[in-house]
Symmetry: D2
Subunit: 365 residues, 4 copies
Amino acid sequence: MAGSTFGQLFRVTTFGESHGGAVGAVVDGCPAGVTLDLAAIQHQLDRRRPGQSDLVSQRAETDTVAVLSGLQDGVTLGTPIALVVTNKDARPGAYDDMAQVYRPSHADFTYDAKYGVRAASGGGRASARETVGRVAAGAIAQQLLAAQGVEIVAWVDQVGGIELPVDAVDEATIAAADVDIGPVRCPDGDVAAAMETLIRDVRKAGDTVGGTVRCVARGVPAGWGEPVFDKLHADLAKALMSLPATRGFEIGSGFAAVPMRGSAHNDPFVPGDDGGVATSSNRSGGIQGGISNGMPIRLRLAFKPVSTIFLEQDTVTASGEATTLKPKGRHDPCVVPRAVPIVEAMVGLVLCDHWLRQRASALRE
Amino acid sequence: MAGSTFGQLFRVTTFGESHGGAVGAVVDGCPAGVTLDLAAIQHQLDRRRPGQSDLVSQRAETDTVAVLSGLQDGVTLGTPIALVVTNKDARPGAYDDMAQVYRPSHADFTYDAKYGVRAASGGGRASARETVGRVAAGAIAQQLLAAQGVEIVAWVDQVGGIELPVDAVDEATIAAADVDIGPVRCPDGDVAAAMETLIRDVRKAGDTVGGTVRCVARGVPAGWGEPVFDKLHADLAKALMSLPATRGFEIGSGFAAVPMRGSAHNDPFVPGDDGGVATSSNRSGGIQGGISNGMPIRLRLAFKPVSTIFLEQDTVTASGEATTLKPKGRHDPCVVPRAVPIVEAMVGLVLCDHWLRQRASALRE
Amino acid sequence: MAGSTFGQLFRVTTFGESHGGAVGAVVDGCPAGVTLDLAAIQHQLDRRRPGQSDLVSQRAETDTVAVLSGLQDGVTLGTPIALVVTNKDARPGAYDDMAQVYRPSHADFTYDAKYGVRAASGGGRASARETVGRVAAGAIAQQLLAAQGVEIVAWVDQVGGIELPVDAVDEATIAAADVDIGPVRCPDGDVAAAMETLIRDVRKAGDTVGGTVRCVARGVPAGWGEPVFDKLHADLAKALMSLPATRGFEIGSGFAAVPMRGSAHNDPFVPGDDGGVATSSNRSGGIQGGISNGMPIRLRLAFKPVSTIFLEQDTVTASGEATTLKPKGRHDPCVVPRAVPIVEAMVGLVLCDHWLRQRASALRE
Amino acid sequence: MAGSTFGQLFRVTTFGESHGGAVGAVVDGCPAGVTLDLAAIQHQLDRRRPGQSDLVSQRAETDTVAVLSGLQDGVTLGTPIALVVTNKDARPGAYDDMAQVYRPSHADFTYDAKYGVRAASGGGRASARETVGRVAAGAIAQQLLAAQGVEIVAWVDQVGGIELPVDAVDEATIAAADVDIGPVRCPDGDVAAAMETLIRDVRKAGDTVGGTVRCVARGVPAGWGEPVFDKLHADLAKALMSLPATRGFEIGSGFAAVPMRGSAHNDPFVPGDDGGVATSSNRSGGIQGGISNGMPIRLRLAFKPVSTIFLEQDTVTASGEATTLKPKGRHDPCVVPRAVPIVEAMVGLVLCDHWLRQRASALRE
C-alpha cells in the first residue's frame, strides 16, 4: 500500500499534485442516510485555503469543492464520496530553474531517490496542497461526530518564541469562533497580535518560523480506541505527524510528564455526572491504555519553520555538485494559521474511524 | 480490525494477557531463506525482562521464547513465525482486592467501558507484558535490517529531571554495548549513576518517575517511506506512541524547531560519499517529506511516570463511588531502562516494513 | 472497510453511481517511471462501453477518461492516479416509477435493507456502470504486466445453450484481435454468428440470457501468489465473483475435475525450456498450492441472465405489498460481450498486485 | 501481506507447518463478553481430524486445542484468542526421498520457485493440516453467529460420479446431525453407502477421487455484504477457493444459470413473514448485488482428486531432470468427508466478519 489511504472503516484516499489538474479525496465507509452540510465542508476548506490573509501564501485558489458521487439530494448513500478541487493557479513552469537543484529540507531529493522521477513543480504530493483532500474528508467526519456530540477545536498555541499562556484558554468551552478572531488563529487578541507582527517580520526578511497547534476533542465517550497497536493516541500521533512540516506530538501532559512523580501525575478518578466516572485532572489527555475515558482529548503538535525561504542557501544539484539556491515561488512564512483546520480534520478522521470500529465490536448497548 | 496487528508487509500480531497462559506473536511476511539467530532474539527479550536488576519489576520470568512454526533448521520458510513465551509467574489472584476499584491513570476503567469485562489481574493487554511479542518480532526485523546495513540503537536520555547532555553521545557510533554499561541503560557513567540513585529513591518512596528514550537508526538508504499518510516518521510516531506510558514523540529537531527560523533550521545539502548526497546538519532527523534521505534517523520518546504507585490515592469503585486505593503488586519505578529494547523493536518493525514496501515498488535497480 | 478498494500493493478504489455525475477510480501503488499508453486505456473502455453494437445497451456514453493526477508528460509519478469518466447520458428521472417497486433479482431491495436509502435511478453502485473504474485501472495493470511478458486474453465461451467447442481455441496463441472479430467477442465465426442470433432473438422477446467467459493469462512466472488465504486463484475468484451477475468460477479443470481419478487428473512435470520445469497437461490452471507454476493461468466465469427484462413479473413494493412490474430503461440482453474487457481488467488487477507482492518478499534475484 | 490473515473486523491469522511443532490461529476482533463453548470448538476439530474413519488419512492426531489467551473463565475478553494444536504424529523424516523430486500437482515446485526453500516434509503450509487453525477460528465465528440466529450446515453432494439428487435434501431444515449419519457426511444413506464403497475402491487402487460439498447458511438477515469488491459471495468465493484442492465455486444457481432466460431465472419477490420481503425461488442464493436478502445463502464447492496417489508417475527432480515417483506417506483418498467442517468454518468466518462490518456502518437500529 502506497500510503494515500487512511482509516480502517472510515477510509479516505487522497490524490493530486500541487501543480497538476486537481486535488481531492474519495471517502469510503461513510454511513448512509446522513444529510451533509456542504457549506460546512467548504467553510473548512476556506479556513485552509491560501490567500485568505497577508500571513499566508498568496497562491490564488478558491478551492471550491465538487462532489462527484455518493450523495443524492445532499444525503449520503453509503457509497464512496468523491471530492474534487480543481487547481486554478497551478504554475507548472514556475519552478523550472529549481528542477535540477535540491531545495534544502524539502522532499525534492527524497522523491528523486524513491521514485527516480518527481513532479517538476512545487513539491507534488509533498506540498501542503495535498491536505485539501484531508480537510474535505475530515469535514465530513466532523459532521458525523458532531451528531454524536463530539466537538473538535484547534488553535495556534505558539509562533516562534511567542507562546499562549496555558491559562489563557478554557478548553471546556473554546470554540472555532474564538479561534477565528484574527488571521493567525490564536484565541488571545494580544498574543495573536504579537504573533502576527512576528510572522510579518519574518516574511519581510525572506525567512520563516515554526509554531505549535493545540487541539481538544470534547464529548468523546469512554471506550473508543484499541488496546495495543491502534491505541487512540497512537493513531492520532500518526495522523498528525503525517502532516507536512511536523516535528513533534504530545498527548495530555506530553514531555512535561517526564520530570514528574507518579503521585503528582496520576489523574484521580472521581464520581462523574449521571453516575459516571470522571477524573479531577486530565494529564492523561482523555485516553488511558489507548482507550478514551470520557474526558476531553488534549494534544499538541509542533511544526518546524517552512523550508522555503527566499535567502541564498548551500545545496547540491541533482547530479550531486555543490551549488547555491535562492528559491522563488509562493509560500507560507509560518504554517500554523492554516494548519488549524487541517489538524481538526485529521483528529476528525481518527475519531470517526474509531467510533465506527467501536460500533462494530461493542455488543452491549 | 482490533488493533493487535502491525505492519503492511512485515506484519506482527501479538497476543496474551499479563496473567494469562502465555504471551507471544505471529510474524507473517518474513522473507524466506534467512538464517535467524535465536540467541539474538532471546538477548533482546533478556534486556526487556523483569527481574534483570533492582531498578525494575521483580516479577520472576525467564521469558524464554519458543518458535512453533516458520523455521526449519534455523532458516525462515517464508511462512508465519509463531513465537510463544509462557507466563511463569502469573498471579491471577494477587489483584483480587483491586478488581472492583479503578487504579488511577491505569486502563482498568477504560477497558471496562469498552469491553464490559476485563482481565481481572494486572492490566491484561494494557500491561507492559504485552510488549514481549513486540520485542521478539522486532528482533527478527532487526536481523533482517542488519543484513541491509541498518543498525538501531536506543538509550536512556532522561530520568525525572536528570538529562544526558546532548554532546555526551556520538550518534554516529553509539552501540548497544555502550548503552548496556549499567542497568539504567544510559551511556554516560556519571549521569547513569545519578539516574540509578533517583530511581532507587523514588522506589523507596513508593513512587515512580518519568523518562525519555532516544533512538538512532543508521544505514537506512534514501527512499524508504511513503509520501502522504504513511510518512516514515508518521509510522514511527504511531509505533512508538503505541507503547505503554508514552506521552510525546519527536523526530529530528522536535519541539526545539518551533522557535527557530527556517534559515537556521534547514539542513544544507552537501556532496556525500561515493557521489551521493548528504546534509551537513540533521535537524530533519533523516526524513524529508516522509521519506528517508540516507542520514541517520533520530527520534525521542517521552514516558510518563508509571501509574502504579504504592501510595494511597483517591479513586472510585466500579460502581462509581468515591474511595481510596493503595495498590499492591509488582511494578517498575521507571519504565525507561526496560523500554530501550522495546523502542528498538518498534523502530525495527517500522523500518523492516518500509524496506519491503520499497522493494515492491521500486522498479529501478 | 466498505468494499470499494481492491488490492494490497496495487490498490484501486472506485467511485460513482450509474446516474450520478461521474464514475472513476483512484489507483494507488502504481510504480513510478512507467510511460502509460492512454490510448490503450481508452481502447479497453471502448470495448466495455454501451452502444458499441446492437447486442448491448444503447445508453449513449463515450466513456472518455480524464486523468487528474499521478502522471507527468505521460509518465507515472508513483503517486495516486485519479481517473474520471463523466456520465453524459444519465437519466436520473427515468426510473421514477420503479423507485417504490423492487425489480426482481436486482439489488434494489438489498440496498434498501442495508442502507435505508438508495440511488433512485438505475442501480447506483450495483449497476455495471461501476465497472468503468475497474477497466481503466485494470488497463494500467495490464500495461505494467505486459512489460513483464504477461498477456491476458478473455473471450466469450458460451451464450445460453450455445457453447464454443474446447478445441476451437488455441490458448497458447489466442489474442484480443481474434476475439474482436465480431460484436459478441467469440473467436469462432460460426459459433459467434449463432450467439449473435440468439442474443437478438432474446432481446426481441424482451428477455435476457446467460453466458460464460474464459480467460487465459500467459507469461506469469512461477512464484506469484501466497500460500494460505491469498492463494492466487482465491484472489482471482474474489475479483471475478465481485463482477455484477456472476454465478460461478472455475480454475483449471474446474467442476470437470470432480468425477476424475487423481491418476488421470495430476499434471505430470516435464523438463521445460531453458532448464526450467513445465507440465505436460494443465488441469491445475497454472496454479499449484495457490502459487503460479509458470504455465498459463486458465479460468472460466459464469454469468446469469441479466435481471432487467421487459416482461411483466411478480414482485413487491417497498412497503412489502404484492404487485407486478414491467420495467423500462436500457439494458444488455446478455452481459458477456461487454464482460470480456472487464474480466481482463480484474485478472490484471490481481496479477499486478501479486507481482508487486512477490517483488517485496523474494530476496533472491 | 503474506496471506496468512483473513477478515477485516473478525480477523484470523493461522500458522504452522504440517510436520512442524504446532498449528494454530490467532483470532483478533472477537467481541468481548461472549461465553465460548470450548467443547463445540473441539467437536468441529474432531469432525476435521485425520483417523476418524477408514475413509480418511490415518495420521494419528487428537487435535486437542489449547487456548493461550483472550479468555477468562470461558468468557471472551475482546483481546486476541490464541489457539494452538500441537502436532503429535509429525514425521519430519518420512518424506526424505521425495525432497528432491516434485510430486505432480502438489505445491513442492511452486514453493521452491517462490521461496527457494520449503518444509522438507509433507507440504508444509500447503498441507490440509493448515486448516486446523481455520476450523478452530471458524467454530468461534459459528458460535457468535448462532447467537444471531445464523446456522451453517455443509454436506457432501458428490463423490466421483456419484451425485446426491437435488431433492434429497431439504435445505430449510438440514442439520449437522443429518450429515453425520456416516463417515462420508452425505445425508442420504443409500447415496452415502455408494460413496463409501467408491472411496474404499479408489483407495485400494492407490488412487484418489474428487467431490463436491454444498453449504447453506440460514438466518442471515438482509443487509450483510458490501456493494462492490467485497460482495458477500465474492468474499465467500475467496474464502472457499482458498481451501486446498478446490477447483470451482458456485453461488445460488451457479453454472446452471447460463442457459436460462432471465424470465425463468429471476426470483420473484413476495410478501414475507412479519411484513418483510421474501422470494418465491432462490436462484440468487440469498445474495443480490453482493448483499444478503434474508433468504438462505446457498453455495457449492468442487474439489479435485487428491494429488497424492500411490502409483508411479512421471515427474522431474528439483534440478529439472525427468524421473518417476511413487509416493509414500499418509493421505486422504477423497477430501470431501473432512472438508465439511472446514467449509462451514470458512463460511462462518466470512459471515461473522460481514456481520461486524454491517454493525459498524448501519446507523439505523
